[in-house]
């Protein structure tokens, strides 16, 4: 069942990539603030926002 080992091997590589990314994110402080990012993306000023209000 080489195919099984192959898929597992690739999956592990992928997991490794994700792990490196994750650790790097943590070290970069991506997750130190788990609140304001969610607010910031809402408040992002869309150029057209002023013309666009609640629909009736």
């Amino acid at each position: 069942m080489i195919a099984l080992y192959l898929t597992i091997f690739i999956s592990l590589i992928l997991a490794l990539i994700f792990l490196v990314l994750f650790l790097n994110n943590v070290r970069q402080g991506q997750y130190e603030d788990t609140y304001t990012p969610s607010i910031r993306m809402i408040l992002e000023d869309e150029f057209e926002d002023h013309s666009e209000e609640e629909e009736e």
């Binding site: 192959l6 898929t7 997991a15 970069q28 997750y31 809402i42 629909e55 009736e56």
Partner: protein
């Protein structure tokens, strides 16, 4: 810090948005065309490129890669630029991505109906198009990653992480599942055989669901739901946790598509365990999405976009609850191969993917054209029609699945099958299929209302120049050099380079390693099992071309009910020469793995021409062209050479496809074809068969030159290698 003025590339977003609409309608229409086939089995008869087996791959590919795919890209291009406060990295790459993707879709829409198919589900495209897909995907990945690198916001919002994981993972999955050896320009053979092919295919298949229909859609949810609700996500922390756990778990769940098959038991257990664990990250996302609407329920009442999101996220919750449950072996034993699975995936695609994408379009298109939606009322009506459509589709399919599965397993007190005739279990559920077609019609109607609404919205505003957005260079861009920042810079670049390097290495390594590994793979071979003869090989390629696997499985599970109905259960060693495997995933018709020798050649001849003539009530389409078409076996030697490279040695190591054998192939083929044709003639096919008379009149036709003979040869060979052995041993 001074502010920088720049423009978002909204043109490419618009292109993707309109492509989503166009291909969405196409995908739904093709879906309906095949759905109505169970109601009116013959309304497209005689048109080979409109037969079920060829259209169903077109439907699935169009729904996944054309409709949802373009929808994802539209959302990704829209949100990524805004979240990162930058234009996409490179406009040319964006355009190549867009036009390349559309070219792929058009090529798919041409080749699949022509029967040019590798028969691996959701990866049916043949090798030249596969290469194109890989290239375009790399362009997209590069464009996305480089946009992240040159961003103007330090923090990378969670949606972007979902997009990035999609880009990286799909590239790997697609390449590894589509490793195939070309025999001609339009025909290739999967490098994996039988069980191994099945393992890789469903590893891919499940992750196509995971990383094409789930992670990017969750990314869209995390951008567009808060935007539309004007409320932050319920918990940003939860979004991070469920993102990482989801992508770590998803990749291992594939084998749950192969429970009770000839796949090793430990792999099946692994798949089940990971599928069960998946409920936690999946529901983390579902809860996070729904609770984002807390305090906004009054607006849900009026806003069609929010309504769609509620149904979409609820659908996500339902299908991700159902998925782990279906991975339990005991439940899977009932559900697999039935309409239950069809219902399950349509909750996901119609509800979750469809409504997230459509809700996104309702929100995004007016903003792209700097105007308001043409009609909120119409959008509300769309929501209701669409939702009723989903229910009318899904509920009957659940009932059909349960009904049929139980009928398949029903025994009489004397130990015989209660519904020994497969046809009885089909007739029983047909009313459910009619309802499903009505549900699908409603869903398409809703989509047409969306098109009208969006076109009207955009119409008067086409002249308006978009793209005028200015934003500050808020934080430090990626590469800054202030003393110790060099380390940061190195780190960031380092990660990027590591990722890219790993991907390249993995792919390069695979291309080198795989062919050597898979030649003479180490699946235990059975003495009795031999490679196909030239004629059977041609027949098998016709089976693949017509997409028979869409309705007929070739995998008998070790249940009393299946052994009773179809014959001895399948063993791994019986598939070692099957490039690609043909296990299928749905039994609209009976399993064919032990079809060989069950019925006379003449029966197959008549049945393929007009199934109803042999099986009253059959909903199988007529395959007239297989009887009428001349067999084109000109490539048989090239095909055999390709297969020899992949392994055609017997258990004892002797090569079957020797140079001599291959050089004699045309004669051997003609000889076997003549035997079958002679048998047909001996049974008075030319006078007694209405199929013959209908196809050829009173002309004397050399049947050995027709495709039907090759297909019969293959069907008569199916599953006989080992059963013959048993018979002779008994004697």
């Amino acid at each position: 810090m001074e502010k920088q003025k720049f423009y978002y590339d909204d043109k490419v977003t618009k292109l993707f948005a309109w492509a989503t609409v166009v291909w969405g309608i196409t995908a739904f229409t093709v879906g309906l065309m095949v759905a109505y086939l169970s109601w009116f089995p013959h309304y497209m008869d005689g048109i080979s490129w409109l037969s079920y087996g060829r259209l169903r791959p077109l439907h699935t590919n169009a729904a996944i890669f054309a409709f949802v795919g373009n929808g994802i890209f539209a959302g990704v291009y829209y949100s990524t630029q805004r979240l990162l406060k930058t234009r996409m990295y490179n406009d040319t790459l964006s355009r190549i991505h867009f036009w390349g993707w559309q070219l792929i879709i058009v090529l798919a829409a041409i080749t699949l109906p022509l029967g040019i198919s590798s028969s691996k589900e959701y990866a049916e495209l043949e090798w030249p198009i596969d290469i194109l897909v890989a290239l375009v995907w790399v362009v997209f990945t590069l464009n996305l990653v480089m946009t992240v690198v040159k961003r103007r916001v330090r923090h990378i919002y969670v949606a972007i992480w979902f997009y990035l994981s999609t880009a990286v993972t799909i590239a790997m999955l697609y390449i590894f599942n589509n490793l195939e050896l070309p025999a001609t320009l339009t025909k290739s053979y999967s490098v994996y055989a039988g069980v191994e092919d099945a393992v890789v295919q469903w590893w891919y298949g499940h992750n196509a669901v995971a990383f094409f229909l789930t992670t990017p859609i969750l990314g869209l949810m995390y951008y567009f739901v808060p935007k539309a609700a004007k409320r932050p996500i319920y918990s940003y922390r939860l979004s991070i946790i469920h993102f990482w756990s989801l992508i770590f778990l998803y990749i291992w769940a594939g084998p749950h598509h192969l429970l009770y098959s000839a796949t090793p038991e430990w792999a099946q257990v692994l798949g089940t365990i990971f599928s069960l664990m998946l409920i936690f990250p999946s529901w983390g996302g579902m809860i996070n999405g729904l609770l984002t609407l807390r305090g906004a329920w009054d607006r849900v009442r009026e806003d069609p976009i929010l309504k769609m999101y509620v149904v979409a996220i609820t659908s996500y919750g339902m299908s991700t609850f159902e998925g782990p449950m279906l991975s339990f072996k005991s439940l899977n034993a009932i559900a697999h191969f039935t309409d239950w699975i069809v219902a399950h995936v349509h909750v996901g695609t119609l509800g979750w993917n469809g409504f997230i994408v459509m809700g996104m379009l309702y929100w995004m298109v007016p903003r792209l054209y700097k105007t308001k939606l043409y009609s909120v009322k119409l959008a509300n009506q769309h929501f209701w029609i669409g939702t009723i459509g989903i229910l009318l589709y899904v509920i009957p399919m659940y009932i059909a699945g349960w009904t049929q599965a139980l009928m398949w397993k029903q025994f009489n007190p004397d130990g015989t099958l209660k519904y020994g005739e497969f046809m009885d279990t089909v007739t029983e559920i047909l009313p459910m299929h009619y309802m499903r077609a009505i549900g699908g019609t409603l869903y398409l109607t809703g989509a047409l209302m969306l098109v009208y609404n969006l076109v009207k919205t955009a119409k008067g505003h086409t002249v308006e120049d978009t793209e005028a957005e200015a934003a500050p260079l808020s934080a430090l861009p990626g590469s800054r050099q202030q003393g110790e920042n060099f380390h940061n810079w190195l780190e960031r670049k380092g990660v990027l380079f590591t990722v890219l390097a790993l991907i390249v290495t993995a792919i390069g390594g695979a291309v080198e390693i795989i062919p050597t590994i898979f030649i003479d793979s180490n699946i235990p071979k059975l003495e009795a099992v031999k490679p196909y003869t030239p004629l059977e090989l041609e027949g098998r390629d016709i089976y693949v071309r017509e997409g028979c696997y869409n309705c007929h499985s070739q995998m008998i599970r070790p249940f009393r009910s299946e052994v009773e109905r179809y014959g001895p259960y399948s063993k791994a060693g019986e598939y070692v020469y099957d490039h690609p495997f043909q296990w299928g995933s749905k039994r609209t018709g009976p399993d064919l793995f032990r079809e060989g020798g069950k019925r006379p050649n003449l029966w197959h001849f008549n049945h393929l021409y007009e199934p109803e003539s042999m099986m009253s009530g059959s909903i199988m389409p007529n395959y007239e062209w297989i009887i009428k078409n001349d067999l084109d076996a000109s490539d048989v030697q090239a095909k055999m050479k390709a297969l020899r490279t992949l392994g055609t040695k017997l258990k004892d190591g002797t090569e079957v496809y020797t140079d001599e054998y291959i050089s004699k192939a045309p004669q051997l083929l003609a000889k076997q074809a003549k035997e079958i044709a002679d048998d047909l003639m001996a049974n008075n096919v030319d006078t007694a068969s209405t199929a013959y008379v209908d196809a050829f009149g009173d002309k004397k036709v050399d049947l050995s030159k027709k495709e039907i003979v090759a297909l019969i040869a293959y069907l008569q060979r199916l599953g006989t290698d080992t059963t013959k052995k048993v018979e002779t041993a008994k004697k």
